[in-house]
Symmetry: C2
Subunit: 419 residues, 2 copies
């Protein structure tokens, strides 16, 4: 019993349709290993919960409630945007984390997030050794941006990709119907500030007969070339669809969304890339347009989640606990692709030292030579990730998503001030 | 055989997730009545197809293809925005329609659309009598705006309502997760230029614990009152969701989306209501926001269509043909609600004279006293319409939607110039 330790789990950064499926994997698996893992405490609002000793006792949640996490989008314990900076300048915060872990007999740290949290996770594992209070730190990958290295894909991405492909296909059918007398160009803005993985998913509708132009953050925006491409597609097909990444930018680095726009009172206006692209087409080519900005709808869309994605999210959470039980530290479970058709993968493991602070962009050979589409190689990569549907149950017309009780653990330490 | 006539079917105005389900109902039912109905010709791009004698021979489509229309969003034959004006000033066009019908032995006119097309349908029935070539004109209701009179609801609306409620629920869970350190207000813009039915659907998430503010076109926008409401909700819950109708406007009639916004070059910028509302909140209350504009995604979202809506769309198409076979003219099949719980309805019939040019707005007792929410009465009305899921089949991760062959019927008349 001496070595039985509690676990800490926290969600970090932008949430996804399946991050709770990872939480479900972590908690269900930890419950199975109750010989070595005591309670699973979750951080209320991510790592802030650990810093402020605001811990949630997940043992108060029923088996059914934890099970329901698998089908519930968003972060059930709250997430946060709070980057722990360098160990040198912000040692006070790292030390506080270890202090909280010590006070609550926490020996396992599961951090569910993207690149920044992988970095934090790595630092905590290092510091805990230095401070003589050993904490096994395991990172559970999560990011709709799909930009973590080593792992073949990141949980959250497959579902956004499916949402974008399905939505773009449906809206394209719509535009095609209207093009004779009305809308000829539909512009859909999707997430991805640095990497174009999400925008790339829009390219999958090409094989369904839809003329589509993709604007990636990896390709510098060339207005003239872009307008020529749209013009050619509208002339040939009567309509076209444009999928633009929010990170699409000019050669000088300025985002398309930054137009220096002012309202009637001279206030700077924030807008999306989609209306900018749409108006550009209208001004140059005269085509009637419609545009949509999917924003949170895309990453929260559990109703159209990829079954593959949900499964992997769960499995990676499960694997994180299994790695911890086996004594691993400073690692992240990964998806290792074995084959495309049929899609086969296995869950692997990567050292955090190699994960932290590395961003994975779209390879050049995933983007067509003209920069406006995806290659066959990219399609072979993407298609397995959107396979399968994993519908939530519905009651009274709406999905049944769980809201946990989130009971607090009694505090043992003096308050800590966030800076 | 003398009385056997062909039928003409056309889709009009903005398409929906289920207008093709009505087409399916019309064509399948007409095929069953082949003793009195010959072929079903569809207008390519709506009524323009009739004017230009660009008819599609639906008999060339397989049983499976017509069946697949039930699950395919958009308008399979093309739609158009082309309003036939008054009989007095545009008699030439109405006469051309009768001429085309005569040339192709068309005795049944099925027009699938909203208020304007109901009016056209009515006029055609009147004129055909005057011109001595009897055409039975039956209107099949369709509009996401849900603003047709007499019928309890309009096909297309239930599915948009479901999409909006599901999406707003999911995004609200997302914001709730992020609110501690990041986004506190999520703004979703939905369709509805004149009537707030679609925005109202956002109010259904209130019963799932979400603090939500609805901005209806029926309620004049009061910035001060609105900001106070948002402020109170964020103070109480830590976050809130705003669902704003594109038709939301100031007391002087100016739409929120019209902000007189100029880009760096002084060009007027078109934007949505959502970014305007979001920036208003940021400026006054300082909250971080996210906003989405669903646009076509909402009305094309067959993947999350309401089963009730799909069923009614089909049944109204079917009933239209049955009414025609029974000799009815200048009518529209309707949905007559019998009870809310359990939801029961029957298909009725309304004279077109009473349908044409009447818009149905949200009743005042469907909107809460403060103008920012929906009442229990409204919820009782809306809930049955979003009941049930009717998923399309998927192949390789994407829905299987049909694209018809759309073979043209040989022309018999001289060309007609559209004005």
């Amino acid at each position: 019993m001496a070595r039985k330790k509690n676990a800490f789990y926290a969600q970090s950064g932008g949430v996804t349709a399946v991050i709770n499926a990872s939480a479900c994997g972590v908690i269900e698996t930890a419950r199975k290993h109750d010989d070595v893992i005591g309670k699973v405490y979750a951080g209320r609002n991510g790592i802030i919960g650990a810093l402020t000793e605001d811990l949630i006792d997940t043992s108060k949640e029923s088996i059914a409630a934890i099970r329901a996490l698998r089908n519930t989008p968003s972060g059930a314990f709250g997430s946060c945007r709070y980057k722990l900076k360098s160990l040198e300048t912000h040692k006070r915060e790292y030390e506080r984390l270890i202090e909280v872990f010590k006070a609550h007999n926490i020996g396992y740290f599961f951090y569910n997030g993207g690149g920044d949290s992988a970095d934090t996770c790595f630092k905590i594992s290092q510091l805990s050794e230095q401070m003589g209070y050993g904490v096994q730190a395991i990172h559970v990958p999560k990011t709709v941006d799909n930009d973590l290295p080593i792992t073949d894909c990141c949980p959250g991405f497959g579902s956004v990709a499916k949402y974008v492909a399905v939505s773009a296909l449906e809206a394209s059918f719509d535009v095609r119907s209207m093009a004779r007398t009305s809308t000829k160009v539909f512009v859909l803005e999707v997430m991805g500030r640095h990497a174009g993985w999400i925008a790339a998913a829009g390219g999958l509708i090409e094989d369904h007969g839809i003329p589509v132009v993709i604007l990636f953050p990896e390709v510098e925006f060339d207005e003239k070339k872009f307008l020529a491409r749209v013009d050619a597609l509208v002339k040939e097909h009567g309509y076209c669809t444009v999928v633009v990444s929010e990170g699409c930018h000019y050669p000088d680095g300025r985002f398309l969304a930054e137009q220096g726009t002012r309202d009637a009172f001279g206030h700077a206006q924030l807008g999306g890339a989609a209306p900018v692209v749409a108006n550009m087409i209208k001004d140059a080519l005269g085509h009637k347009f419609h545009w949509a900005v999917a924003d949170y709808l895309q990453r929260a869309a559990r109703h159209i989640a990829s079954k593959t994605d949900v499964k992997q999210a769960y499995e990676l959470g499960k694997k994180a606990v299994e790695l911890a039980v086996k004594g691993h530290n400073a690692v992240m479970p990964t998806v290792e692709r074995v084959s495309n058709v049929p899609y086969k993968y296995r869950i692997g493991v990567a050292p955090l030292a190699k994960v932290a602070n590395v961003e994975k962009f779209m390879p050049r050979d995933f983007i067509t030579a003209d920069g406006f589409g995806i290659t066959a190689k990219c399609k072979r990569y993407l298609l397995p990730l959107i396979q399968g549907e994993d519908y939530p149950t519905y009651e009274n017309g709406l999905p049944v998503y769980v809201t946990l009780k989130n009971r607090a653990v009694a505090k043992k330490l003096s308050p800590f001030e966030l800076k």
